[in-house]
Every structure is written in structure tokens, then in C-alpha cells.
Symmetry: C3
Subunit: 353 residues, 3 copies
């Protein structure tokens, strides 16, 4: 039965119409490391649940980025796994989010802005391949760096052109704007965790966040648990060090940490107790460094995006082969934490004793 599902999935991916749909849905899932069309579909619905504008924007971004990859004849396997699409989705979402009068629901972009967004999404494909080339020898993935780099570059430039509406929100969503005196209450936590997951996709909606968790869980329960752990850990660290209540409730400290947790917690490193501690370390550091990047970008008023996640995860994975306490999973072989661990245990068992 599992076999026939796989065969069905494979023949779907080759279908002239359903094939590309499969690539796009996987692309949406890949934002949170889930190479699974159903995960992508649930996440897309979570976006539509918050705002149809964001839902359409997400589809637009992933489609343009994937089309650019097809035009440039990129590696077919990567295209089919959605790896050229997810940064495009995020770039499109970011440009709509930060140029709309209302961040929460977004606004329909002008014609010129749509052209601009399309170029940004296409550029993520070029940047993805460039970063993959640079990091390839070290077996470290590009993560969302193509989105962060392209997002920043295209967001900065918006301010220079009369033809593009910058909106009121081009500024780091930073703790400064929140009341420092507010007390931590129950909603700080359950809304903070949900919002953190939502913020990965620019969704300021905690219910969408939990829907996204379900999307992750259909492919990997460990990854879903890690996402929750990252978001919760970040909220806890931020509270412990006196971060403002409003920022914690909005999930600002947590969306980078949640991604770090998924990446290190079983996906790029086999889950062991040492790598679990290493993941906890990464969650704490990512929480602080989100604040750090926010300070760095303050003079030019730019958002952090997922740069703290990219920076910490890169630094913690680049040296992976130098630390014998870790068991790296090369990006090309990474599937789910469950599967990665099983393959590792099997390989260990086969070793002569």
C-alpha cells in the first residue's frame, strides 16, 4: 500500500498539469523543510484562512520562481522537490507584507509592483543556485538565504522609486514599539507560539500558525514538535531576559528560532541526545541574534526576515564534520528526522562490531 501510494505520487509528479501543481505545493512545504505536497496544501489553506491576498501571493511567488528554474534548465530533481520555489514564495509574501498599509491582511499590489515582485521571485532562483554552488562542497543547504538577500535588496530599493508605494511598514518590526511594562499572561504564551509559526510566512494570526503546525505534522511529527519547541523556547528566553510582552505575543522572537529548531532538530543532524542539546543551544542563540540583527538594521529601517535563523544554522552546520559528537545528514539525503535517524541506526547496525 505504501508502495502504491509512492507510485501514485511519482506518476502525479510526471503529469503535465498535476505535476507542476505538485512541485508548487512541495515548494510551499519546503519553507518549513517538508518535501510533501499535502503539507504545502495545508499551509496554503492556513494562509488563505488569514487573508486570500497572502494565499494568492504565495502561489504567485512559488510559481514564478519555479518557472525561472525551468526556463534556465535547472536540475530537474531539485525543481520537482520544490527547492527552487520556496524562496520565491517568501520573497513575494515579504514584498506584499511590507508595502501594504495593513500588514495583517496585505493589500493587492499595483501593476508595477507585481512586475517588481515577479522579478524578485525570479531572482531568488538565481541566488539559490549561486549559494548552493558556494556551500555545496561543505554539504550545507542554502536555507532561506536567497529569500533574505533578495528580500532585503528589493525592499531597500522600494524607497527610491516614486512608482512603488513603500507603505508605512518598512521598518523593523522591533520590540521598541511595544509597551515594556505589560505583564506576561496566558495569551502571551499560546498566542506567542502560534504567531511565531505564522510569522515564518508573514501571517500575524496565531490560528494560522497552529494550522501550519498541522501541515508540518502530516509529514513529520518530530519536525512539528521541534517547531513548537523552538517557538516556545524563544518565548521563554525572551521573557527571562526581559523582552517586551507585546513582541513575545506577536511571535517576533520565535519565528527564527522555530526554523532553527526544525533544521537542527533531526533534519540536517541525526537526532541524538547531544544533537538535541545542540539544538536547544541553537534556539537560545537564535532568539538573541534576532534582536541583534534588528539593531544592526535599525538605521536603515529594514526587517530582520529570517536572517537570524540562516546565520545561526549556517554557523552551527558549517563545522559539523569537525565535531565528532554530531552525525550530519547531507542536504541531498535529508528527508524527515524520523527517516534520517532510522537510516543512521541501520547503517550503524550493519557495521562490524
Amino acid at each position: 500500500m505504501a508502495q502504491s501510494v509512492k507510485t501514485l505520487a511519482a506518476s502525479l509528479a510526471d503529469h503535465p498539469v498535476l505535476g507542476p501543481v505538485d512541485w508548487l505545493l512541495r515548494g510551499i512545504g519546503q519553507v518549513v523543510f517538508q518535501n510533501n505536497a499535502l503539507s504545502g496544501l495545508i499551509i496554503l489553506l492556513a494562509l488563505f484562512f488569514n487573508s486570500w491576498i497572502y494565499g494568492v501571493t504565495c502561489l504567485f511567488g512559488v510559481a514564478i520562481a519555479t518557472a525561472m528554474a525551468v526556463f534556465l534548465k535547472a536540475d530537474r530533481e531539485l525543481v520537482r522537490n520544490g527547492l527552487f520555489g520556496f524562496n520565491g514564495a517568501l520573497a513575494a509574501l515579504a514584498l506584499v507584507a511590507f508595502t501594504s498599509a495593513d500588514f495583517r491582511t496585505g493589500a493587492v499590489p499595483s501593476g508595477l509592483m507585481m512586475v517588481y515582485i515577479a522579478f524578485a521571485a525570479a531572482m531568488t532562483t538565481v541566488v539559490f543556485q549561486a549559494i548552493a554552488t558556494l556551500l555545496g562542497p561543505h554539504k550545507v543547504a542554502a536555507l532561506t538565504a536567497p529569500f533574505v538577500l533578495t528580500g532585503w535588496l528589493f525592499l531597500f530599493a522600494v524607497l527610491k522609486f516614486e512608482g512603488l508605494e513603500a507603505g508605512p511598514l518598512i521598518k523593523p518590526i522591533s520590540p521598541d514599539q511595544f509597551d515594556a511594562a505589560a505583564a506576561y499572561v496566558l495569551p502571551t504564551w499560546y498566542m506567542g507560539i502560534g504567531n511565531a509559526i505564522g510569522q515564518i510566512f508573514f501571517q500575524d494570526n496565531w490560528i494560522s500558525g497552529y494550522l501550519i503546525i498541522i501541515g508540518i505534522a502530516v509529514n513529520s511529527r518530530v519536525s512539528a514538535a521541534m517547531a513548537l519547541l523552538g517557538a516556545a523556547g524563544a518565548a521563554l528566553v525572551a521573557a527571562l531576559f526581559g523582552g517586551p510582552e507585546g513582541a513575545i505575543r506577536d511571535g517576533l522572537f520565535g519565528y527564527n528560532a522555530a526554523l532553527t529548531a526544525i533544521a537542527l532538530g533531526g533534519f540536517f543532524l541525526v537526532l541524538t541526545w547531544r544533537s538535541f542539546l545542540y539544538t536547544l543551544f541553537g534556539i537560545v542563540v537564535t532568539t538573541w541574534l534576532w534582536a541583534s540583527v534588528a539593531i544592526f538594521l535599525k538605521p536603515i529601517g529594514m526587517p530582520v526576515l529570517t536572517s537570524a535563523f540562516v546565520l545561526v544554522t549556517w554557523l552551527m552546520l558549517l563545522g559539523q564534520y569537525g565535531f565528532r559528537a554530531l552525525v550530519p545528514v547531507p542536504p541531498a539525503e535529508a528527508t524527515t528526522p524520523e527517516d534520517n535517524r532510522q537510516r543512521h541506526l541501520k547503517a550503524m547496525a550493519k557495521r562490524p562490531g
Copy 2:
């Protein structure tokens, strides 16, 4: 006859006096990717046409950088092709341009400033080799990155020393200083295109710009056409998105795009219709990202230099071997778009059918 010209050129390059002159002129040509002494000579005359100070500064920079390479016993072939010189020429021009009371003509620097400029030009040689080492495995050229990096570092520091006159122009030449309401007229276009080419060498003189185009054309008409296409495309994109008329007329949006167009348009990628579309994509993105870098540098008041060109061209070339729609030309084999294409077609013809 072509053969005897080549022999003559080769024996010239070995001449104890004329040899180095040949290296320096090629160095000037290399700023716009023309490994041709005549191109370099015409460009030098275009600079003298605008201001003898810039002409002498250019020679000073290229000579110091090349001398540093000889002192350090760098690769002889690279020295002879002017590859150690062009970043030195640009660094010297930048330091004079941004510390002079009048950017247009420049001013004769003080003795201390001359020492400072000499060190900056020599440093570009060190940085060129460093970047070449890093990018070598990916077959991507250093471009003008050594100039951009050294230029920024030496320009920032000027502000800290009483002994160096910073001049009024240490600030990004940014669209903000122009009247947003001015209408686009005919001179916007023909002056804007000429100025964009001139700005590559810090020449705020549109006639010098067209003289430089002639310098490029004696070596490669395709490259000359690409330079014009890049400058014109940038002006068009800027106008479409509401960039200020004065900035377009001054060529500010276009000098990075012109370089991107030469680099991608046949020089580092064999010219095909797909790589042509890729070049157009690069021109548009470079135009926007010039604005983006200007915003990023605004808090510290630094000029963009050619960083947008370097950034976009690197990103678009680093992944070149991952895109089967592109035919890369390794830097060591790149000559002219015409020649690159012919060699490729010949190699294709030889392939068994």
C-alpha cells in the same frame, strides 16, 4: 596580416619600456573588459578630454597597482593583460573624485593624500589576488570587487584623519538630491546614456562617455552595444518606476547596469537568445539594486561605486554551471563576445552528431 599584427603586439609587450606601457593601457581597458591597449588609450584620452587631473590620476592608479603586482611576483600573464591594474585605476579615481571640492574636474591631491591613494591602489592588487583565490574554483572573475572593497574602506577612513581633506562630496550621489518633479526630456536620454558610461570612470561628462564607447568598440562591437543597452535599459526602467529625472540624466542608475550588460552579454556567457534574456534580466535587477545599495549606505554617507554590478553579476554567474540553459565562458578563456561565440560554435560543430 592578422598574424603579423599579433606578432608585433607580442614583441611590444616584451619591450622593456613599451611593454609596461602596453600593460597599463590594457589595464585601463580592462575596467570595461577590453584587453586591448588601443581601447585603453582611447578611454584615457576620454578622461583627459574631461579633466587632465583625472587622466593623470588614472595612470597613477594603474601604474601603482601594476608595480605592486610586479614587486610581489604575481602571475606574469595576468600582469601583462592588465588584470592587476584596472582596480587600482578606479580606486585612485574614486579617492580623487570624492575628496575634491569639484567632483566634475577633480582637484590635485595633497602630498599626504597622494601617499594614501598609492597605498589604496597597491591594496587593490592584494585584494584582487585574494578574491581571485576565493572565486577561482567557481570560475567567476573578481570583477571590480577589489576596487569597491578598497574604495569603501579607504573612503570611510578619510573622515577620521585631520590630515586628509574629505571634501564636500563624501555622500552617496543619490536620487534624493534631485527635483522629483522634473519631466523627462530628450537630453534626459542621450545625456543620461553618455553620462552612465562616463560614470564608470567617475566622469560626469556625457561626451567622454561616448568616447569611451568608441574605445570599447575598437575591440568589440558587441560589448559596445551591450554597454549602450545597459545604460539605456537602466534609464528606461528608472523612468518607468518614477526615478528622478536629474539622477537619470546624470547616469546614476545606468553605470552599474552598463557593466552588468557587458559582463553577461557575451563576455562571461556565450551570447544566445536565452543568455540575452538573462542579460536583460540582469540589467533590470542591477538598476533597482543600485538604489538598494544607496539606501543601505545612506547612514554612513558612502557612494555605491560599482557594488551593484559586482553583486548582481556574481550572483548571476556563480550558479552558471547549474543552469543548462547557459553556456559559461571561464574567465581565463573570455576574450570578446564575438570570439567566445565563434569558439563555442566551432566546438559544437565538432561534436559527433
Copy 3:
């Protein structure tokens, strides 16, 4: 006798208690490239001479960073040579120095701040391995880059958390705050040179600086001389170009240049007359670029740390194999300038003909 000392040293390094002590002292020595426990001990005493708080902080940082390396099962040889420790020591010192009310003596950090410092020190271990992985193929060392990167990231973030006291000194220690009119007098020089060496370890105490020089000299007199040459050269260049007297006397222009001088002056390049001139060039450029980085960081109010040293030394070493005038010493083989040169001369003598 030399042999038996070596044997003794080796057995010490294996001792369950004295072994780790040996690693930590070597770690302190490695800040100034001295893989020697006695050097480390003298430097530690120089810190205690200025302030017991800094002495303890230094030990805390080097211990945590080394413990992290042991937990992650990093290369045992590198751990024993103190290479995982020295960036941790610097990160801890920086965090105490820049968050204390009095930079000169430091203050005992709060409990939360201690946790924060411990994470920062542990993070330098991760970053060290990451950078070593990236630079390994080019045979260039990570230098103090892990400290600079981690230091910046953790210092920026301090400003975001109520629970961490930022102190009055989070700002670049920049020449601006000094009286530009003060004349250069004798103490400008002898205090300036001593302070420059002290500032490497955040010690605003010129006597501590000269004690550190003694610590270096017990392992290598050439390195000690280079450190003095770097500090003196920087003071001279700064004075020549009109740097403020107070900044020169405080050693601010010199601490990066002193490190560049040790690194290039015989340690990573065999000492010849050409590499000596190359080192002088590096000293001058580092002095200017310290000012440059200070300007770049001014909008966010961050200190330069040793970034100018890292930047210049990396740029000057990355291309080392492209310059036949230089004789590189791979990091794994670099011991002392004296020893590096002797090995090179021996290898030359063995060559036929």
C-alpha cells in the same frame, strides 16, 4: 635537555588536572599567536595586575569555549593547543568591558549576564570550526574572526533586553571623543604603544601592555618585536595623518596593527625582506582601516574589536600562493617566526642545485 622539557610538557598536557590547565593557558597565549602555557600565564597575570575581574573573566571565557569543544568532540590536537579557547576569552572580556560602568576595571556581571557570556563563549567554538571549514582549503587561519562575529552579535542584542544592563560604553571607542587640538608629547608614544598591546585584551593599562609583551617574548622575541613595531607604526601613521592625541595615547589605532604585525611578520609568512615590507604595508593599512570600520559601525554604536586586523590579514594572506615573492607557512605548521624561518632555510638548503 630541550628534549626532556618537551617530554615533560607532553606528559603535563596529558595529566587529568594539569592537562586542561595547560590547554587554557595556551588558549590565552593564542590570542597573540603564542602556543605556550608560560606566555599565557604571564598574560593572565598582566590582566590580574590591571583588574582581577578581567583576570577571572578571561579564565571563564577560555574555559567555557574549551569545554564546548570537548563536549562536541572537536579535534583533540586543536583543543590541546588552545585553539578553541582564545576566541572565548576575548568574547567574555568584550562583553564585560562594554557592559560595565567603568571600562577600565570592569564590573562583576549579573547572573543573567553570566549565562549570556557563557553562551557567547561557547558560540565562538562553533564559529571557529565553521570559519576553519570555510578557510581550510586556502590555508588561512580563522584568526580572531569568531570573537569579532560573536562579539558583535551578542553586543548588539544586549540593547534589546531589559534583563541585561548595557552600560554607558556601548559605543565605538572612537577618536571623535578626544580633543583634536592636544599636542603629541612623550607619553603619547610610550603609553600609546603599551596601551595598544593592552587593548588587544581590553586592558586600558599601558603597564599591562608591556607585561603582555614579556609574555610574548618568552616564546618568540621576533613576535614581541613585531607587536611593538605594529603598535609604534600605527601611532606614527596616525600622528602623521592628524589622528587625535588622546586616541593615539589610548592605543586605539594600534591594537589591530600590532596583531597584523605578529601575524604577517614571520608567523604565517616566512620572514624575508620582502615579507617584512609586506608586513609594514599591512601595519599602515590596518591603522587606516581601523578608522574605516569605526565609521561603518558608528550608526549602530558598536566597537571595532579586532575586525580591522582580521580583514587586512585575511586579504593579505588569501592570495599568498599567487605571489611568488612570499613564502607562506600553513597554519598547521606555524610555530614561531624563528622556527618557521629555520625550517624554510633547511628545506632550501636540501634542494638540489
